[in-house]
């Protein structure tokens, strides 16, 4: 019997151990607004916990800058700890935060969890820091706004800037005899036309869930800006309202028109992109971080001349401008208040001053307005147009809902959205489930 009990206990050991590891936590000891602490700069290793591609522009640029800084400050080194997979990264970050073991620098979105850390004084005031370094005015307002909490405070520094566009295959649309949608309401008709021609209308990475959740944000952003989601997440607005119902019914209409590829919920990022770049899908909604794959000679030659893009269509009576849509500045970098000292400040001053020019040289969009993006030699005409599009984007960015809702409501929304679009549940069921979930968890999370 003891052996039997042992086996049963062993079945739960892993989970119990993981849970047992979570303890501690507390506010930082440094004043988050004291961005210029007194004292000597003592070189040591500092760490940055990131969620960015290891071979991406941000990391390669920062590595170069850190090497230059280390040459001037013997004994300094920057330990970059990257976990590109976002869900895994968030779990790691939250566990470290719970154990009060966050490193000097760490990536985080403007989520309710981050807001709690900021309230506890565990993240430096980024606005005060950038102002003190004389760099605040250099940043694109949209890039900073994306990082702000609801109260307007800024605790994360952006390292990139993107716009999310609808890439489409002109030949497939022409072949199916359909036009680029002028309003969001035109999407179902576009999908039906493409389906009749035997073409997958929209390539979607359903496995990661956030791409479908983006669509959920579009209609309310056009009808009420970001106000709707900001009220909704607190339980102060419901999906059972004019704005909410319009969004839910639009999502259901996309499902009815079979807009997304069959089996989209188990389609991954690479497969979704391959469906578009191989000419099997007509539309693909993705950000400018994919410019190298969509607007250079890396793109499949068979579709290269047929690819174009359009921005988020509007709705009748929209309150947001045509130049306002999703323009994220990516996950931001927070500075740990508990470990902030003259060295961290000095390194950040050194790095943030040099970063925009070096980053723009990689062909990426800098979060500042001080530099011009270098267009790669193998770029197609679209590359320059997309960069110009980003430069002329409005100040209001559509906030992705996954950064706004509390984690429990967000998980449920992602799950229910898939069911709604697959036709497994009705809009009424979706609305009832989500309003109940947000009323219980959202209200508590934003008290």
């Amino acid at each position: 019997m003891n052996r039997i009990r042992g086996a049963a206990f062993a079945a739960t050991t892993a989970a119990a151990l993981l849970l047992a590891g979570c303890s501690g936590g507390g506010p930082g000891e440094t004043d988050p607004t004291n961005v210029n602490p007194e004292g000597e700069i003592e070189a040591r290793e500092i760490s940055w916990l990131l969620s960015r591609p290891a071979d991406g522009g941000v990391i390669t640029t920062i590595e170069q800058i850190a090497a230059d800084y280390a040459a001037e400050h013997p004994g300094f080194s920057l330990n970059l700890i990257s976990t590109p997979d976002r869900p895994s990264y968030i779990q790691r970050l939250e566990t470290l935060a719970a154990a009060n073991e966050l490193p000097e620098l760490f990536d985080i979105d403007a989520t309710p969890f981050a807001a709690t850390l900021a309230e506890q004084g565990r993240m430096m005031d980024a606005e005060a820091l950038l102002t003190d370094l004389g760099l605040y005015e250099d940043y694109r307002p949209a890039a900073l706004n994306y990082q702000r909490f609801d109260d307007g405070s800024l605790h994360m520094i952006p390292f990139e800037f993107q716009v999310e566009l609808f890439w489409y295959n002109t030949a497939l649309l022409d072949g199916a005899g359909v036009q680029v949608p002028e309003t969001l309401d035109d999407f179902p008709q576009l999908c039906r036309g493409l389906r009749e021609a035997g073409i997958t209308p929209i390539a979607l990475d359903g496995q990661d869930q956030w791409p479908l959740e983006r669509y959920m944000a579009y209609y309310p952003f056009r009808t009420s800006g970001n106000d709707f989601v900001r009220d909704l997440k607190r339980g102060e607005a419901q999906l059972d309202s004019e704005d909410g119902r319009a969004a839910v019914e639009w999502m259901a209409s996309l499902g009815e028109a079979e807009c997304f590829g069959e089996g989209f919920s188990s389609t991954g990022y690479a497969d979704a992109q391959a469906a578009f770049t191989s000419g099997r899908a007509a539309v693909y909604n993705i950000g400018t971080w994919e410019l190298a794959n969509l607007a250079t000679e890396n793109l499949n030659a068979e579709v290269r001349d047929d690819v174009d893009y359009f921005t988020l269509p509007s709705t009748p009576g929209a309150v947001t401008g045509a130049d306002e849509y999703v323009s994220p500045s990516g996950i931001g970098m927070a500075v740990n208040a508990a470990t902030y000292d003259p060295l961290v400040r000095d390194f950040l001053a050194f790095a943030l001053e040099r970063y925009p020019a070096l980053y723009a040289e990689t062909g990426a969009l800098s979060p500042t307005t001080t530099v011009e993006t270098t267009i790669p030699d193998n770029a197609t005409e679209l590359y320059e147009r997309a960069v110009a599009e980003a430069d002329s984007v409005g100040e209001l960015s559509a906030m992705p809902w996954d950064t706004q809702l509390d984690p429990t409501s967000n998980s449920r929304l992602q799950q229910e959205l898939t069911l709604l679009v697959q036709g497994e549940i009705t809009p009424e069921e979706f609305i009832a489930t989500m309003d109940t979930t947000i009323a219980e968890h959202g209200t508590a999370a934003f008290e």
Binding site: A15, F113, L117, E262, S266
Partner: protein, 293 residues
């Protein structure tokens, strides 16, 4: 009765592993039990909520009950594949005169492949676009109409995530049952044959009763492994679409590490402990009662 010195020696040797067991197993379980009475997000102060987490789990959380029913379905499919499959293959294997080692190795092979590799393998095999192996096979035999995205269909996804887990460990249990079957005394079987016993009677009256103790152990192992099944469903579908392949374990993990609701996740983990103990108790009771009958 052991002499005094021997008893001391036994205690000295037993104490370290007992301490290790207590620290590694019992303490976390007790800690989970304590945490289950609190609401805690990991970064703010813990708030005592009494039995509210248990009330929420049992009365207000529809996902928990969906996950529980899914876990029972997952368990059933895994047991049928692992134990049923293992018994059939082991029984056929003892009748095989040549190539036994090769067959055993081939069946055991999935047990040594990494979980992540198995998940990626099945993800490709189940896919509809690009067309995976299962859908290609259906097309090849003219059953195109049955082609589907197996991991996106709420009607098929639970079976789809259970099959890789069942397939993976069939070979392992086959090996254990095979070892038990070859230990059945040949003279017993010979005597039964002389008395005119059929193959089925030989199996039900001689072989199976003889391997019953091994069968009980194997059933307990397979059941507890299936009840804590996590990795393959999590990697294949993350519980989706919707909650169609959500298991209690994947839900507990998400509650802790995605929702940062450690108190409620501890409540679910306490449920898993109880669930495992009840399952093991039921298995022993049923099999012993049948043996006594």
């Amino acid at each position: 009765m052991l002499p005094h010195r021997s008893r001391t020696a036994v205690l000295v040797f037993l104490l370290p592993p007992l301490l290790l067991y207590g620290i590694a197993v019992l303490v976390p379980i007790v800690q989970s039990l304590v945490l289950s009475f609190f609401s805690w997000d990991g970064i703010t102060a813990m708030e005592f909520v009494g039995l509210d987490n248990y009330v929420r789990m049992l009365t207000r959380d529809d996902i928990f009950w969906t996950a529980f029913v899914n876990s029972l379905g997952y368990l059933a499919i895994c047991l049928i594949l692992q134990l049923g499959g293992a018994l059939v293959v082991a029984s056929l294997l003892i009748g095989l005169r040549r190539g036994r080692e090769l067959v055993k190795t081939l069946y055991l092979l999935p047990a040594v492949i990494s979980t992540v590799a198995i998940a990626f393998l099945f993800q490709r095999m189940y896919a509809l676009e690009p067309v995976g192996l299962f859908n290609q096979a259906l097309a090849a035999i003219g059953l195109d109409g049955l082609q589907r995205a197996w991991l996106s269909d709420v009607g098929t996804v639970l079976a789809a995530v259970s099959i890789p887990e069942g397939w993976r460990f069939t070979g392992l249990y086959m090996l254990i049952i095979y070892a038990a079957l070859i230990a059945v005394p040949a003279e017993l079987e010979e005597a039964a044959r002389l008395d005119g016993a059929s193959r089925w009677q030989l199996f039900t009256k001689i072989r199976f009763p003889y391997i019953r103790p091994v069968w009980i152990t194997t059933t307990i192992m397979a059941t507890t492994y299936a009840l804590r099944g996590f990795d393959i469903p999590y990697l294949l579908t993350n519980g989706g679409p919707g909650q169609a392949s959500e298991l209690v374990t994947t839900y507990m993990y998400k509650t802790a590490f995605s929702h940062t609701d450690y108190g409620y996740a501890s409540t679910i983990s306490v449920f898993i402990v109880i669930e495992c103990l009840v399952a093991v108790g039921l298995i022993i009771m049923l099999l012993r009662r049948r043996a006594d009958a």
